[in-house]
Amino acid sequence: MYNTPSDHVCRGRRCGVGALMSIIYALLFLLLAPVAGGLIAGIDRRITARMQGRVGPPILQPFYDVGKLFEKEKVVVTNSQNFYVLCYLVFIALSGAMFFGGGDLLLVIFAFTLAHVFLVLGAYASNSPYSHVGAERELIQLMACEPIIILAAVGMYMVTKSFYVADIAATKIPLIVFIPGLFAGFVYILTMKLRKSPFDLSTSHHAHQELVKGVTTEFSGSTLGSIEIAHWYEAIFLLGFVYLFFSWSPVIAVIAIIIIYVFEILIDNTFARVKWPLALKSSWLVTAVLGILNLAVLYIIGGFLK
């Protein structure tokens, strides 16, 4: 009768051996991402300490912390809150696995949003003032970040003609040259996603938070440990996203990731926390100006190339 392109065309590594490789990559992510994420958190704390003129904890400190959390007594405000955190962890891990498995970038982004909605619901469930305000702020941050993440994926599609991470990662085109505006916008909201100052509104790695611990106020013990592990998964996924902008050259990509991360730490230590309206307005403004300009230019270039 008729065929759709997806019926008979195999791109990236999505067929036969390719499918197997996808699954292996996804499994490797599930196993190794917490290790790598924990190490990055440890290095982060060391660099932060040095910036503040302290010695800082051992690199492995985040693992000791999480290990200790799992030894603690199980204490909750309401039973359902742990369920939401479990869903948060599962869907963060799933979206990362889909990403490293080379899957559809838009679907990855949607799964990622779903995961965050679960974290917010967990904070709401406890009916506690601090976590309630944290939840509201976390939602505002979600709203602030979402547009540029989608537009970045769209920009990658416009250059590579594919939404599959596998295809984007395998491209020989230097994406960053075509979508610098989208990259800058993404780095802007990366601060929010990594929970770094000036955008650590809903919860923070630092001890000084006017909301106690925001969304995580009412979580303790193994549940708090799970949130920490989810955050490690998330960090690796986000850095993977940064990689895609530079994927034509893996060496440059790794260097870019390191520079970006150190830059985020520097920002974290040099800026004071802002209020949520500024966070929302500025990130939407950055998205609107840089994102729209970049996509418009891409669209015009695309028209000429046709």
Binding site: N79, L106, L107, V120, Y124, S128, P129, E136, C145
Partner: protein
């Protein structure tokens, strides 16, 4: 996949679906006893739903089937009823001193008389009715969801009059109009003769007018006339399209007109799309749908999910191939796009649950209108998915809010705090309905995803991708904070769920099941109904890649399995009170505040009125969309003159 012509319309399922709800309506007008009414509604609803499914089985694989029906006496009968409706509206207009309604009706009647006796003679088409895959999809939505809402209404309206003894009990009229509404909707999706389609169109306008004004309070009358006038304005454009077709000899048959294309089809496509924009409550006409929430909740559910607004987008999707790539088409798409963006933003600032639902409907219809205006095969694929999934989730949400309103006594989202402990089952169903509206892997999100892909591949589509990216972020915010209200666990309260009637449970559970089922079945709906239909029109189809479908099914499976973990979490956990900055609280969350006053902790959501206020954003949306519509008309006028 051949197109066929079938004689014997009078014995066919299609004719049954148009006629039967009308007969049921008349029977219901005559019945006084409550239990007889419930029985009649129940049996009729079951029959209508069953025949809709039968229609699917019978016609799913037969392509487009035409029914040659002689225009006599049916066409003449429709004209007479149409004139009767006009007289009735004139009467209502004089009675309530609404002169705009009178003026619009007079102009429209004059146009129709001119059309009927002045220019249309001898041009009576043969194939007046038809059924194709898109009609089947619409019929399933009307037949299953519409009927379920009627069943729910039996129990709801009984409660409604119990809660409002001051209002006159006009339930006989109520159910009469509800079923007439269904009959008109079936007629609308099966009509191939545009003149007849317009007749059914006007019946839906009248039905919604009467249902919105049901309670007869001043506000209800005011809002019902607002709805009437806006829709009559759209009706004028529709009548203009008929006259254009008669004058240019374009013919009255929908299928031939779309196949012809060109300027002959573009002028009526634009005029009818304008009518569609009024009916689908896009800016600048969104206020009628917001005002319509004054009606009893089943009416809102019906207007928002399976009838009225869906009639608006139905005709636009039909005309999409004609609009594709034209300036007026892009203007229509922009109206839809901006409506999506602004209505989603306004929804954030609303705490009235029905208003949030209303703005969410307007927003999602905006997305469908944007897809229709762009009109590529990918966009239309997304549009049809949006129509299906929106109908299922939105009907469930309205009916849940109706049930909560009767048990809790409020439709304010803040009063739904901790509904998960007070009305656990209803709360879970609401959560399913909301997840269906914005979360992966449920239907509406799949549709938005499809829309993004469709927009990228369309010329100038980047504009719509950007609108969608911002709009969907707004969507996440207002749904998630509402979800948060429902699931927050406050100090123990009494269960208020036991008084909900069995009929309501039945309908709510069925619809909640349908939200999940539609997501599971959507690859089948796509490949057996939507794709063949698109292929017949565009010669091209689109669908989701299989591995993505697989991943979404895995996600759905996880979402159904993960709640089992609740059983584990109930054990071995010590429960503490929330942290209050060191303040001691009682188990009911009271604490001693400044100067020793006993205070209770109350938590409220952010509504961000300063940023997303209704008036503030309407002030942008209304003029913006009026300008876009003006450009649309100017564009089509220039094209017409050049022609």
């Amino acid at each position: 996949m051949s197109n066929g012509i079938l004689e014997g319309f009078w014995l066919d399922l299609v004719f049954f679906l148009i006629l039967f709800p009308f007969i049921a309506a008349i029977v219901l007008l005559l019945i006084k006893a409550d239990n007889v009414r419930s029985a009649v509604v129940g049996v009729s609803a079951l029959l209508i739903a069953a025949v809709s499914v039968w229609l699917l089985v019978a016609y799913a694989t037969s392509g487009t089937v035409f029914f040659p029906v002689s225009p006599e006496p049916l066409g003449e009968l429709m004209f007479l009823i149409g004139m009767g409706i006009a007289v009735f509206i004139l009467y209502m207009g004089f009675r309530y001193k609404n002169y705009i309604a009178i003026a619009l009706t007079l102009i429209q009647s004059a146009m129709l008389v001119y059309f009927e006796f002045g220019i249309s003679h001898g041009a009576a088409p043969e194939n007046n009715f038809f059924v194709d895959q898109f009609s089947i999809i619409m019929a399933l939505i009307i037949g299953i969801i519409g009927s379920l809402i009627c069943v729910y209404a039996v129990s709801y309206m009984k409660d409604f009059h119990h809660h409002h003894p001051e209002l006159k009990d006009r339930r006989r009229t109520f159910f009469f109009i509800m079923f007439v509404f269904l009959a008109a909707m079936f007629g609308l999706v099966f009509a191939n003769n545009l003149g007849w389609l317009f007749f059914f169109w006007e019946v839906t306008t009248l039905s919604s007018f009467l249902l919105i004004g049901y309670t007869g309070t001043d506000e209800a009358i005011k809002n019902s006339f607002l709805a009437l006038n806006m829709n009559l304005l759209g009706g004028l454009a529709f009548a203009g399209a008929l006259i254009w077709l008669a004058l240019t000899g374009g013919g009255m048959e929908l299928d031939k007109l779309i196949a012809t294309g060109g300027i002959i089809a573009l002028v009526p496509a634009v005029l009818i799309s304008f009518a569609g924009i009024t009916k689908a409550a896009q800016f600048p006409f969104s206020s009628w749908l917001v005002g319509a929430m004054i009606a009893p909740t089943p009416v809102s559910a019906l207007l928002h999910s399976s009838t009225m607004v869906k009639a608006g987008v139905y005709v636009m999707v039909r005309f999409a191939p004609v609009l594709q790539g034209t300036t007026p088409g892009y203007m229509i798409a922009l109206v839809g796009g901006f409506t999506f963006l602004l209505a989603s933003a306004i929804a954030i600032s609303q705490s009235n649950a029905k208003k949030v639902l209303a703005y969410s409907t307007i927003a999602n219809l905006g997305l469908i209108v944007a897809c229709a205006g762009i009109g590529t095969y990918e966009a239309i694929w997304a549009a049809i998915l949006l129509i299906i999934f929106h109908a299922v989730s939105k009907s469930l949400l309205f009916l849940c809010v109706g049930t909560v309103e009767h048990q809790v006594g409020s439709r304010d989202i803040e009063d739904m705090n901790g509904l998960i402990t007070r009305m656990p089952k209803v709360a879970v169903m609401m959560l399913i309905g909301m997840a269906g509206m914005f979360l992966a892997p449920f239907g509406m999100l799949i549709s938005k995803w499809a829309a993004i892909r469709a927009f990228i591949d369309a010329p100038f589509g980047v504009i719509f991708v950007i609108i969608l990216a911002f709009g969907s972020a707004l969507t996440v915010f207002f749904w998630a904070k509402w979800m948060g209200r429902l699931i927050s666990v406050p100090p123990p309260v009494e269960n208020a769920e036991r008084r909900v009637s069995r009929t309501e449970w039945l309908v709510l559970s069925f619809l909640a099941g349908l939200v999940v089922l539609a997501t599971v079945l959507f690859p089948l709906i796509s490949s057996y109904l939507v794709e063949p239909w698109l292929f017949a029109i565009y010669g091209q189809v689109t669908r989701l890649a299989q591995e993505n479908v697989a991943i979404m099914l895995i996600m759905l499976f996880l979402l159904m399995v993960l709640p089992v973990s609740m059983l584990h979490y109930r054990k071995n956990q010590r429960q503490l009170k929330p942290y209050m900055g060191g303040m001691t609280t009682t188990s009911r969350m009271h604490f001693t505040g400044a100067i020793g006053i006993d205070r209770e902790v109350t938590l409220g959501n952010y509504y961000l009125e300063n940023y997303f206020g209704e008036h503030k954003l309407s002030k942008i949306g209304v003029p913006l969309c009026i300008i876009l519509l003006a450009i649309m008309f100017a564009g089509v006028a220039v094209a017409g003159l050049v022609h």
